[in-house]
Symmetry: D3
Subunit: 261 residues, 6 copies
Amino acid sequence: PLSFAERLRARERMIGYWTQLPVPAVQERIARHGYDYVCFDAQHGFHDYHAVLNGMIGIEAGAALAGSACGGMVRVAENSIAVIGQALDAGARGVIVPLINTAEEAKAAVAACRYPSGGGMRSYGPMRAGLRSGPETAVMNVEVACIVMIETRQGLANVEEIVATPGIDGLYIGPMDLMLALGGSTINDPSKAEDFEGALARILAAAKNAGVAAGIHTMAGDIAAKRLNQGFTFASVSSDLNHLDKAAAEHLKTARLALVS
Amino acid sequence: PLSFAERLRARERMIGYWTQLPVPAVQERIARHGYDYVCFDAQHGFHDYHAVLNGMIGIEAGAALAGSACGGMVRVAENSIAVIGQALDAGARGVIVPLINTAEEAKAAVAACRYPSGGGMRSYGPMRAGLRSGPETAVMNVEVACIVMIETRQGLANVEEIVATPGIDGLYIGPMDLMLALGGSTINDPSKAEDFEGALARILAAAKNAGVAAGIHTMAGDIAAKRLNQGFTFASVSSDLNHLDKAAAEHLKTARLALVS
Amino acid sequence: PLSFAERLRARERMIGYWTQLPVPAVQERIARHGYDYVCFDAQHGFHDYHAVLNGMIGIEAGAALAGSACGGMVRVAENSIAVIGQALDAGARGVIVPLINTAEEAKAAVAACRYPSGGGMRSYGPMRAGLRSGPETAVMNVEVACIVMIETRQGLANVEEIVATPGIDGLYIGPMDLMLALGGSTINDPSKAEDFEGALARILAAAKNAGVAAGIHTMAGDIAAKRLNQGFTFASVSSDLNHLDKAAAEHLKTARLALVS
Amino acid sequence: PLSFAERLRARERMIGYWTQLPVPAVQERIARHGYDYVCFDAQHGFHDYHAVLNGMIGIEAGAALAGSACGGMVRVAENSIAVIGQALDAGARGVIVPLINTAEEAKAAVAACRYPSGGGMRSYGPMRAGLRSGPETAVMNVEVACIVMIETRQGLANVEEIVATPGIDGLYIGPMDLMLALGGSTINDPSKAEDFEGALARILAAAKNAGVAAGIHTMAGDIAAKRLNQGFTFASVSSDLNHLDKAAAEHLKTARLALVS
Amino acid sequence: PLSFAERLRARERMIGYWTQLPVPAVQERIARHGYDYVCFDAQHGFHDYHAVLNGMIGIEAGAALAGSACGGMVRVAENSIAVIGQALDAGARGVIVPLINTAEEAKAAVAACRYPSGGGMRSYGPMRAGLRSGPETAVMNVEVACIVMIETRQGLANVEEIVATPGIDGLYIGPMDLMLALGGSTINDPSKAEDFEGALARILAAAKNAGVAAGIHTMAGDIAAKRLNQGFTFASVSSDLNHLDKAAAEHLKTARLALVS
Amino acid sequence: PLSFAERLRARERMIGYWTQLPVPAVQERIARHGYDYVCFDAQHGFHDYHAVLNGMIGIEAGAALAGSACGGMVRVAENSIAVIGQALDAGARGVIVPLINTAEEAKAAVAACRYPSGGGMRSYGPMRAGLRSGPETAVMNVEVACIVMIETRQGLANVEEIVATPGIDGLYIGPMDLMLALGGSTINDPSKAEDFEGALARILAAAKNAGVAAGIHTMAGDIAAKRLNQGFTFASVSSDLNHLDKAAAEHLKTARLALVS
Ligand SMILES: [Mg+2]
Ligand SMILES: [Mg+2]
Ligand SMILES: [Mg+2]
Ligand SMILES: [Mg+2]
Ligand SMILES: [Mg+2]
Ligand SMILES: [Mg+2]
C-alpha cells in the first residue's frame, strides 16, 4: 500500500485529527479510530519534544490496533532545520510548517525535510523513525511529506511561487491566521467572508495547478467534509483539547437544565 | 460562603466532573465552567502524584476565573493513610475512597482524613493545602470531606454500618463495579437492571437516614441530572478522556458520511 | 492465535526481556526484536507509573512493527490491589508479583488480577487495556496472567501450597533473592550452588505438577536457553540497563587496549 | 482595574520576583505574597516549556488567593517569533527579551508580540491565554507587554533608537551582562562602578523620554526599592533559587557557630 | 572514614537539611554547602520517585564538589517494604520512617532495610545504590540507617520498646505531629510547652539508654544547634520550600517599606 | 590537573561516550567507567533540556565515583546562542556544534561560547555551571571547549577557513552525514570509501596544522582506537541506545539458537 506521503502526493482525500494534549495514551486512542493522519500541534498545543516523541509511538500503537495506516504529523513551531529534524527523527511522516511567506522560506522547509541525496540538508540520526523507514536516505526522502502553511497576507500573495518550490508536497490553510491577515476580527467575520473564500479558492487552485495536496484546518467533521467536497484533498478536525472543553461545558449545561428544583 | 465540604455535608445538590488526563491546563479549563467539584481519578485515570499536585493548582486557577468555588477532589487509588494524606496535602477538599467493604475500612478512611484533634491519624505537612486552609488542624478537619465508595457486594451488604461510621461525609456509587458485583456483564445488563436500581435505592436510603451526602458516577450530564432528581445529592460526569475519545470518533464518522464521492 | 496469557498457561516456551529504563522508545525497540514478552521492572528498575503506561504503548508499537505478539508484563513493586490494578489498566498482559511467601498472599495476588466475574476484586476502569481487550470482564480475566515469585525461604517452603492456589498461572524465580535466602553471598556462591539448583528443581517440579508455567530470571540469552532446556517454560533476559552498562565498560576497555602509544 | 501591561505602560511602580525553579507550587506560593509580577527566567533558569505553562497556572492560583493581580511574565531564551509566541499562548502578560542590540531586533520582538491587527506577526492559538483574554486579537495586543533588555555594549549604544521602536513597552536592564559588557569582572567591580551607573542613567533617561517603563534586575528587596526610588518604574528581586541557596548556607553556618562542643 | 550510617550509630553530632523541591539541581546546591545529610521529604514534600532518584544523584554531585560526605536520606511516605526498598535502591543512606506506633511497626521498618543476611526482607536490586556499596549484602546492611519517627501519642507511650527493637539506628522527632498528638493547637502552643519538652526528654533518654541516635526536626539553624546542645545527636533544618517562601515574602516587605513615595 | 577543555586544546588523546537516553542514572553509570568525556546528543538523541540538566549532574556524580574527571559535553541541536548558552549554563564543559558550513558560522559558535571578556556574546547566568567554575567569566571562557562539526560538502570545502576561526578548539567529524554529503548511500558505501578517507585526512590535517583537536564519531571502541592511532585526538563511541538495542537483539538470537527442541 502507499505510504502516507505517497497518498498525500497522489492527492487522495484524507481526514485527519489535530492533537494538543501531551498524553501518548490520548494519541493512541485517536489513531485507533481510523483517521488518515493525526497531527501534533507543536506550535500552539501543549506539546514539548517528549510529548511528540512518545505520542508518535501512541499513533503507531493505535494504528496497529485499527489495522489501518495513520500518518503521524507535526505542525512544527517554526521553520527551522533543527526543529523539523527532531520531528522527523521522532517518526513524523510529514511536517506542517507555519507562517510561510515566501518561496525562499518554502525552500528552506523542503531542505530541512530531505537528506543530501534528495537535495536537502537534513542531518542523519533517525533514532525512532529509522525503525520503520530503514537506513536508506532515498527512502526516507520519499516517505516524508513537506507541507507549508499559507496563512499570512504575504504568503497568500506569493502562493503560486511558494507552491512551485520543488519538494513541496502540499499547502495547508490556517483559517484563523488567514482571516486575521485579511483583516477579520474573528474566524467568522461576515465582513471578510467573501475575501476569505476568495483566498481559499486561490490557494486551492494554486495547489491543484501545481499538482500538490491542498489541506485546511477545520473545527468539526462536517466542515472537514464540506472542504473536501469543495476540492481540498485533506482536512484536519481540531482538536482533542477543544472537544473535551466543549463537552465539559455542555454536560454541565445539560445537567443544570434537567434538574428539577 | 460555605466550603465545599460544608456544602456536601449540608446535602446541597452538586454536579462534578471527572478528570483522567494528567494536564493541569485541562483541569483549569474544566473548573472554569463552574462545576461544583472536579475529581481526579487517581485509581483508573492517567494521573500520578505530580499530575494531581499540579492539576489541583489548575482547579484553583480555573475556579478563580469562573468566580466560583470548585472543590478539587481525588478518587484515591487505595485506602491508605499515606496516599490519602498526599492527596489532602496537595489541596484536595475531599477524597473518594474506593472499594470500601466494611465499617472498619470506613473508619480507617476517616482516620486518614483527620488530624488527632479530630480523632484521626493524619500527619501534619499541608505544603500546598495550608496556603488556603491556614495552619489550624481543627479547620482542616472540617474543610475536608471523606467519601467512601459502595461498589462491592460486601460493601452493599454493610452499607448501613459503613454509613454509620463517625466522620463519613458521603457515600459514592461506582456503578460499573457495583453492576459487576451484582453479576452484571455490562453497566446496562438488562437482566440485572432491577437488582442494580434496588441497590441504588438501598444506598440512597442509607445515606439519607444517616444524614450524609449520596453521590454517584455517571457518563453524561442528563444522567447526572436524572440521578440528582432521584434523590442523590451529588453526581459526577465522566470524563475528559471518554468525552474526547467519543468526540474524535464522531467527527470522523460525520466527516466520512458527509463526503461526496 | 493464542494470547500471551493463554500461551503461558499452555506452558509454551517463551523468551522475554527485562526493562528498567523509563524510555518508551526503548521498549518499542526491544519489542520489535520479537521477544515473546517484555517485562517492566517496577520493583527495582527506574520506572514510575507514567513510564509503565507510556512504555506499554511502546511495546504495542514495537510488536506491531515486528508483526509479532509481544506480551507486556509488569513486575510490580508489591502485592497490592491498587498497584496490580494500575499495571493491568495500563495494558499489562501479566503481572509478576514479588516476594510471595504463602498461599494466602498468592490468593491476594490472584484476586487483584480478576474481576468479580472471575472471583476476584479487581476494580473496573481499564482505560488503556480496554482498547484491546474490549469491555467484557470475563475476557479480561482470561487474558491476564498472574505470576508469583518464589524467592524467599518461606516461599520456597510453601511452594506446593502456593502453586495450588486457584488462578495462579505461573511461578517465577528471582535467583538473586533466592540465593540470598539460601544463605548465599552472591548469585554464584559455590557453597550454595547445590542448594540453589535443588531449590530450582523443587519449584520446577511444583509448577509442572500443578500444570502452570515455570519461569526464571537470567542475565543472558545463553543462560535463558539453558534454563528452558532444563524444563522452565519461560525465561527473562536482564536487562537494558545492565546491558548498556556492560557495553559502555567494554568499549572503553577495548579502545584503551587497542591504543598504540 | 488596569491590566498588568497597562500599569506597566502607565509607568506605575511595580515590584516583581524572578523564578528559576520548575515547580508550579513554588510559583503559586510566590504570587500569593502580592508581587506585582512574577517572571519566569526561561533563559538562565531551570524552566522548560511545561514548567512555564504549568507555573503560569500557579501564578493565577496564587494571585487569586492573594486577591491581587499578579502579572506572569517570561524572560524568554531568545528573540524568536516561535518562542515568544509560546510564552504568550501559555498566558504570559509580558515578555522580557534578552540581548537586544538594535532597533531592528526590537522591532522583531514587538512583531512577535502582536497579531496582524496590531501590526505584528503573532500566530493565533492562545490555548491557555485565551481563557482570560477572550478571542479578540485587539484586546490581546493591548494586554501583552513587550519589554526588551539593554545589556550589551551595542544595545547601550543604540538605546535611544531601540526605545523609539513603536510597540516597545519597557526597557529592562540586566546588570550582570551590562557590567560585563562595560568590561567589569563582577557585578560590583569598583573600577566600573561609575560607568555602570552612567549607563543606567542613560537607559533610564531614554525610557523616560520615550514614555515607556524602565526596569532593572536586582538581587534583593532593598536594592529593588533603591532603584525604584531612583526613577526606575519596575524592579525584579532575584531569585527563588538564589534565596534558597543562601538560606541553606546560612542556616548551616548559624548552626555550626551555635554548637557548644 | 566512617560512612553516614556508622557516624549516626556512633552518635556523632550531625546537621542536616530537609528538601521538598523536586529539582536535582537544588539538591546538588544544598549538598555542596557541607551538610552532614540531606533528607528528601517524600511524605509531605513535592517529591515523586523520579525526584528522589535524580535528586539523590544531585546529592552525590554536590558532596563531591564540597569534598565532603553527605548522606542522602529519605523520609518515606509510609512504612512499607516496597517504598523503603525503592528509596534504598535509589541510593538512600538512611530512611526516616514516619508515624511509628509500636515495636512491631519498628521491626517491620528494620526488616525492610536489611537483606536476609541481616535478618530482614529487603529484595535485591540496588540499581543505583550498588554503584557505591558494591554487591555484598552484608555491606549494604551496615551502610543503611534505619530511623523511626516518634510523633504520635502511641509511639511516645511505646518509645522504650520501640527503641529496643534490634536494628533501629535512631529515633527522630516530628515536633509538629508530636505537639498535635499532645493536644497542642500549634507547634508553639504555650499550654503544651511543658508536656512537649517532657516528651522530648523522654525520647532523648530512651535513645541514649539504647545507645542509638536521637534526632529532631527544626525550622532553623539556631534551633538545630540548641537541640544538639541539649543532647540530640542529629537535627534537620527545614526546608528549601519554607526558606524560599519566607525569603520571597521578606524581600517584598523590605522593598515596599523602603519605597519613597 | 588540566581541565577537560585544556586537555582537549593540548591535543591529548581522549575517548568519550555518546549518550542518547534521557536517564540521569544512565549518565552516572557511564561516567563512572572512566571515559574522558560523555556527550549528550541533543540533536538526534532523546534528550530535552531537563534531560541534559539532570544528566549533567549524573556525569559529575559518576566521575566523582570513578575518582576521575569526565567532561560532560553536549552536541547541541543547532548553532544558536540560546541553545548553546543553555547547555553551558547546565554545566557542559564543551559543545559540539553540528553542520558548520562556513567560517562565519564557526565564528557564531565561538561567540555563543564566550562572554564579552573573551570577545563573545554569551549571557551571564551559569546557574549550574557556576557551582564549579566560580563567577569569573575569564575562567569560564577558558574552561569551555567549542568544537564544530565538519559533516557537509560545504563544510569540508571550507574546513581550512573554519578551523582558522579564532576560538575554535576542535573539529569533529560526523561520519554518516559526511558520507551522505559525499554521495554515499550508507556509512560503509564501498564506492565512496576512498573519498571518505580522503576527506578525513584533509580534516585531520587541517586540525593539526591549526593546532586544534581533531575528533570523530565511531560506533565501537575498536574503531575509536583505530581513529586515535591514525592521528585523531579524540573519538566518541556511540551510543547507549545503539548498544542496548544490539544487546537485546543478540541475547534473543543466542537464546533461540541454543534452545533444544
Ligand atoms: Mg496559524
Ligand atoms: Mg470502581
Ligand atoms: Mg527479587
Ligand atoms: Mg542577561
Ligand atoms: Mg510528621
Ligand atoms: Mg550529523
